[in-house]
């Protein structure tokens, strides 16, 4: 089968998605089915100078990094390169949270920094004509398997079910909380978590956003071995429009109730559940997981 031609275009970025992609375990297989007309690290048939000055045949445009009108890439406005290739390609994929929502560099000093279609939650309407063509894969950085499998789905011509931010539902309907090894502490509201321990849930005090952040981090592990929350680091919500929030290591509460609740759970439901959990203690969860 013909190789699918892909342009990996990096704009205002840390290149973290590029390197996360390099953690995909079967890149050689991937490169049998796809070829990069340009990639920030992998050798390609064209130079960036050729890419920005000519129309090179291409099937999928991958954008990494935030978008701003005054951001210059290799001497030309980055947005001009997007426009040139948006016409040529069949699909556009925004790779990572910067390219999807603006991400961390939203706060840089460029004008009106955003993702391709969203500035945080807000639709920007700037590139409406490209909306139909776009798939978003948020994450800071992108998860390599989520990216590669989505590219294969595009290659196969599958019709992807997308959420309101154009993210494939198969990956973004889950919450990060799904599959976390700390779930029992959450369920029974054992709220005395300390950093540096296997036990405990970071939702109550340490800012974990897992229950209201969409993604598959605890379903498809990172580097095939672990996830932040399993390791003991609160989920920072890096797949979501508002990333990065402030005071990331703290849970903001109003009258003892966390400001953000699990997706779909009303405050009343939460309070009812919390009330019930107060009525009992589960010894096993109060103790060390492996005791002597």
């Amino acid at each position: 089968m013909k190789k699918t031609r892909v342009l990996w275009l990096t704009l205002m970025s840390c290149n973290g998605n590029t390197h996360s992609f390099l953690n995909y375990p079967y890149i050689e297989q991937f490169l049998n089915d796809f070829e990069f007309i340009y990639h920030p690290i992998i050798d390609s048939d064209y130079t960036l100078e050729e890419i920005i000055s000519q129309d090179i045949a291409c099937d999928i445009l991958l954008i990494e990094g935030s978008v701003a009108d005054d951001f210059i890439k290799a001497g030309v406005p980055g947005i001009d390169i997007i426009k040139r290739y948006a016409k040529i390609v069949e699909k556009i994929v925004t790779v990572g949270t910067c390219a999807t929502f603006g991400g961390i560099f939203r706060e840089s000093n460029y004008k009106d920094v955003s993702g391709l279609h969203f500035q945080e939650e807000r639709r920007t309407d700037k590139y409406n004509d490209l909306f139909e063509k776009t798939v978003s894969i948020s994450g800071c950085p992108v998860h390599p398997e989520v990216l590669v499998s989505t590219l294969y789905a595009i290659k196969k011509g599958l019709s992807l079910k997308l959420d309101a931010y154009l993210r494939p539902k198969e990956y973004f309907s889950y919450t990060i909380h799904n599959g976390c090894t700390r779930n029992e502490y959450f369920e029974y509201k054992v709220d005395n978590h300390h950093f540096g321990e296997l036990e405990g849930c970071m939702f109550y005090d340490h800012g974990c956003r897992g229950p209201f952040t969409h993604g598959s981090c605890n379903k498809i592990l990172w580097n095939e071995v672990n996830s932040k929350t399993r390791a003991g680091l609160p989920c920072m919500g890096c797949t979501e429009p508002s990333f990065p929030k402030r005071n990331i290591f703290e849970t903001k509460k109003n009258m003892g109730i966390p400001e953000f609740l699990p997706v779909g759970v009303s405050k009343r439901t939460y309070l009812t559940l919390a009330g019930i959990t107060k009525a009992f203690t589960i010894d096993r969860l109060e103790k060390k997981l492996f005791d002597d």
Partner: protein
């Protein structure tokens, strides 16, 4: 003549002028920045642990470790367990190792008539990523090192897993890069000793000699390293004279009019940082022998970088053995960091050399944050009377392709340089 240098975590523009068919001047311009230091202003101090790894996708872990140490330096007294210190050193070292593999097989290879070796670059890279993820949850972009220690608890089984990644990487290195048992590294003391060894590094060094390039890319022969660890020494080396006392306050940055990268100097002089600098300061016998023969050329620079891999791998084995799992991973600081009004400075050795972070905390917030990256030391442009390290290394070459190779032996990282 202007040449756009690509695939260096971004791009840089080199503007060459020639005289008598030799490069007699070159300017180095990095063309964009992301204002990370401004983004940090006004934030809660701990948020820097999340933002700073995003300075750079390839050495973000070094930025995390530099951040946590700068924040901890704001305390007059803070307790960090030995276990947490060792775990931080381990994960940082894993990042160094994987950066070196990527650079050797993806950046250096194509200059020697061989294609990039993607599989060889990525196999050890992924193993080292896994080793970091066991502690940090993921790689890139974990924030697992926090003020007071690390967030993870580590079990014996975790250690066993990580040891397998290290062994497998060591095995890969011995089979592919240098065919000598890591345990026999001590027998490699001169370039002569190296001549019996096979492998991809040996092949590249041979090609350098066959092309008669072994003296290319010499610069000031002045080296510096500020990051101290259980493995690296702080110090500077001028030619071969090594001195240890350095004052970090004498490191200064100056703006450039043409480039977004600020240049960095110590007592008004430019210094090379990175694996070659570390080997000269650490008086590594093999690297010193190469230096005796070929000075601070691309030969010595490439050798020094790749040769750091097996030594770091051996060091991680020692570090793991010294872990005492009964210690706490995290000790909650008595005072919350945002309560301090203080300045903290840190220096760590990242893959490409000394990385410095400086934070000032006031009224619960970050008042200012300054980041000096390794590539700023090596790559920033000076001017005619006072050329930067990489500029000086390119002067006198007779073609732009060679200049590009020399430039890339410093392992350019555009995103870090401008941040």
């Amino acid at each position: 003549m202007i040449k756009l240098i690509e695939k260096i975590e971004g791009e840089a523009k080199l503007n060459f002028s020639f005289k008598d068919n030799k490069i007699d001047d070159v300017s180095v311009d990095f063309m964009s920045t992301r204002h990370v230091e401004d983004i940090l202003k006004g934030k809660t101090p701990l948020d820097a642990l999340v933002i700073n790894p995003r300075v750079c996708g390839i050495c973000g872990h070094a930025h995390l470790i530099a951040t946590v140490r700068a924040l901890e330096a704001c305390y007059e007294d803070i307790q960090i367990s030995n276990k947490a210190k060792i775990i931080r050193e381990l994960t940082l070292t894993f990042e160094l190792i994987q950066n070196h593999f990527k650079w050797f097989y993806l950046t250096i290879f194509p200059f020697f008539g061989v294609k990039q070796e993607i599989a060889k670059a990525l196999y050890p890279t992924q193993l080292m990523g896994k080793a970091i993820a066991v502690f940090g949850g993921q790689y890139p972009h974990t924030s697992y090192a926090i003020v007071g220690g690390v967030v993870c608890e580590v079990t014996n089984m975790d250690i066993i897993k990580v040891q397998r990644y290290i062994d497998e990487t060591t095995d890969f290195f011995e089979k592919n890069v240098l065919s000598i048992q890591n345990s026999d590294l001590k027998t490699l003391n001169t370039l002569n000793d190296l001549s019996h060894v096979k492998g991809d590094l040996r092949d590249i060094l041979k090609k350098i000699e066959q092309n008669d390039w072994q003296n290319l890319g010499k610069s000031y022969d002045r080296f510096i390293a500020f990051g101290e660890s259980s493995y690296f020494k702080k110090g500077k080396s001028i030619k071969t004279r090594v001195t240890q006392n350095l004052a970090i306050d004498d490191v200064k940055e100056t703006d450039s009019t043409t480039s977004f990268a600020k240049s960095v100097h110590y007592h008004d002089q430019y210094y090379e940082v990175g694996p070659l600098a570390r080997a000269m300061i650490g008086k590594n016998p093999l690297i010193k022998d190469a230096h005796r023969r070929y000075g601070d050329s691309i030969f010595t620079r490439i050798l020094a970088r790749v040769y750091e891999i097996p030594q770091l791998l051996e060091h991680t084995k020692i570090l793991i053995e010294s872990l005492d799992l009964s210690e706490p991973s995290y000790i909650k600081p008595e005072v919350d960091i945002s309560q301090l009004n203080a300045v903290g400075i840190s220096a760590v050795e990242a893959a490409r050399g000394t990385l410095i972070h400086k934070v000032e905390i006031e009224d619960l917030k970050i008042k200012s944050y300054e980041i000096i990256t390794p590539t700023q030391w090596n790559l920033c442009g000076g001017h005619e009377q006072n050329l930067g390290v990489s500029q000086k290394a390119m002067i006198g070459l007779d073609n732009v392709k060679l200049a590009e190779m020399v430039f890339k032996t410093f392992d350019v990282c555009s995103v870090c340089t401008t941040h």
